[in-house]
């Protein structure tokens, strides 16, 4: 199977000889799938998306491995070419809808920027598309929303605007970096429903970063579980939430709180699972 995104033995280091924050990561995202990236803080899940988008913080570098997007090797591209490719074909839905929008600019400009500056559309056409996309994400009064400033919108509305901005340019690939973490649960559900509906309609492949096993279960086709910068396993949702996932995956699911069986949830991850996982990673990655 050839995925639209193929990551092979990727390692990312701090500085030229520093510690590796991603080690030997391989995964493949098939066209049209939502691929979950799950792990606890420090597992490196956000770093994978940042590597693909060419947004690694200063001082972090790809030291080994390859990232192929639609057959093109991204790690070999000069920074400017990478930016251009990402601008044209990959979109990002960020975590914090408040800081992702410039507070002193109207929504219209922030949605059309990419269309006008990267894709070279004329302003009128871009504005029309922006309005169309806002309609698609169930914003009731698109024309008025386009004229608003971010602070005039609620958290859920802002996240809808960001989803619209991501889909407006009809990207081939979307990286969603914990897009619902800052939201209330009832809003989270609506946003997840929206992301699923938009993704299905446009057939966009997606990398969805999250720390919530529940979100993976409800949203993702497949997912990759990470621990300490290394892949624990990749599997379909049926496998991960089925009878035989990796013990660490099973432990993460067991630690998730569940109102439907309160006594049989919130189980601390057993020491031995972590020890066995470390030994296993030691053996495979050295």
């Amino acid at each position: 199977m050839t995925g639209i995104l193929e990551i092979d033995s990727l390692s990312v280091r701090i500085g030229p000889r520093g510690p590796r924050i991603l080690q030997d990561v391989s995964l493949s995202v098939a066209p049209g799938e939502i691929h979950g990236l799950i792990g606890e803080s420090g597992a490196g899940k956000s770093m994978i998306g940042k590597t693909v988008a060419g947004l690694l913080p200063r001082g972090l570098n790809v030291s080994e491995g390859s990232v192929r997007f639609d057959g093109k090797e991204l790690t070999a591209l000069p920074r400017r070419r990478l930016r251009k490719l990402v601008g044209e074909r990959i979109a990002i839905i960020p975590q914090d809808p408040l800081t992702a929008l410039n507070p002193s600019r109207r929504i219209a400009g922030q949605i059309t920027d990419r269309l006008v500056h990267t894709l070279g559309w004329d302003r009128r056409r871009a504005l029309l598309r922006a309005e169309e996309t806002l309609n698609e994400v169930s914003i009731r009064n698109p024309a008025q929303t386009l004229r608003s400033y971010p602070h005039e919108l609620s958290g859920g509305m802002r996240q809808r605007v960001l989803i619209a901005a991501a889909f407006a340019a009809a990207p081939d690939f979307i990286i969603a970096d914990e897009p619902t973490t800052a939201l209330d649960v009832t809003v989270q559900r609506q946003i997840l429903q929206l992301i699923r509906a938009m993704q299905a309609r446009h057939g966009t492949a997606m990398l969805f970063v999250t720390h919530d096993m529940g979100v993976v279960a409800k949203l993702c086709t497949r997912a990759t579980v990470l621990y300490a910068g290394k892949v624990v396993e990749t599997g379909t949702a049926e496998h991960l939430f089925g009878p035989n996932p990796h013990p660490y995956t099973e432990a993460l699911i067991g630690a998730t709180p569940r109102y439907d069986r309160p006594e049989d949830s919130l189980r601390p991850v057993p020491e031995r699972v972590i020890e066995a996982l470390r030994a296993e990673q030691e053996a495979t990655h050295g």
Binding site: E40, S138, D184, A251, R258, P268, V269
Partner: protein, 273 residues
Amino acid sequence: MAEPLIEVRDLGLSLPDMNAGPRLGRRPRLEILRGLSFDIPRRGVVGIVGESGSGKSTLGRCLVRLLEPSAGRILFDGHDITHMAPSELTGHRRDLQMVFQDPMSSLNPRHTILRLIAGPLKLHGVEQAEDKAREALDRVHLGRAFADRYPHQLSGGQRQRVGIARAIALGPRFILADEITSGLDVSTQAQIVALLEELVADMHLTLAFISHDLSLIRRLADTIIVLKAGEIVEQGRIADVFDAPTHPYTAALKAAIPLPTLDDAWLENAQEA
């Protein structure tokens, strides 16, 4: 049945609205809490749930009298603490403790762990405060090696254990836990919940557990209070409320939780806010 440890009657809180009204003179007031009445039974665990803006943290801060209510009253063990001045409250402070949401900001960054826990004990004239503080570190399974470290040298879970140690060291009867696991990883959250259950059982504590997560409350609490926009929309025994929520908001909150189980229908039929 014995009388409840805490009785809350018609509690209300309003604050001046800083975003509205004239710069000088009286500002219009915002009602944060309205007409709240409930009991917290002795050695019971009450869960307080609500979304952002529901007033759950404000209610918590009224219970431990960090805020002074503007209406109604709060009885603690029969004493009316609603409008007590700081000096009058001193006698009750050891009984009314709180663990905060963000352990980084609730622990003074310039004090060592030992000082953070022993300080309050000394303040209340407890003998051998430092030994007692070390015992508290043992009780939260942190170990005495942490005594000389500073908050920023600890992980999030360890810091929250310090927050708990600080609260239990005083031997309180009531502890308010305000979203104490919301910044933690699930595996750390599970450990903190286990610790809390252990302490509540061993120390005969009465606990109010504030959370946005119904699943956590289902596990920890005996009774539940559902807050929306400063008002109680539903309260009752935990099993009853979960089995048959009477208010649509409670039902919506419950339905919005993504359980870690496969369910294609969960993302269909998008309902609008």
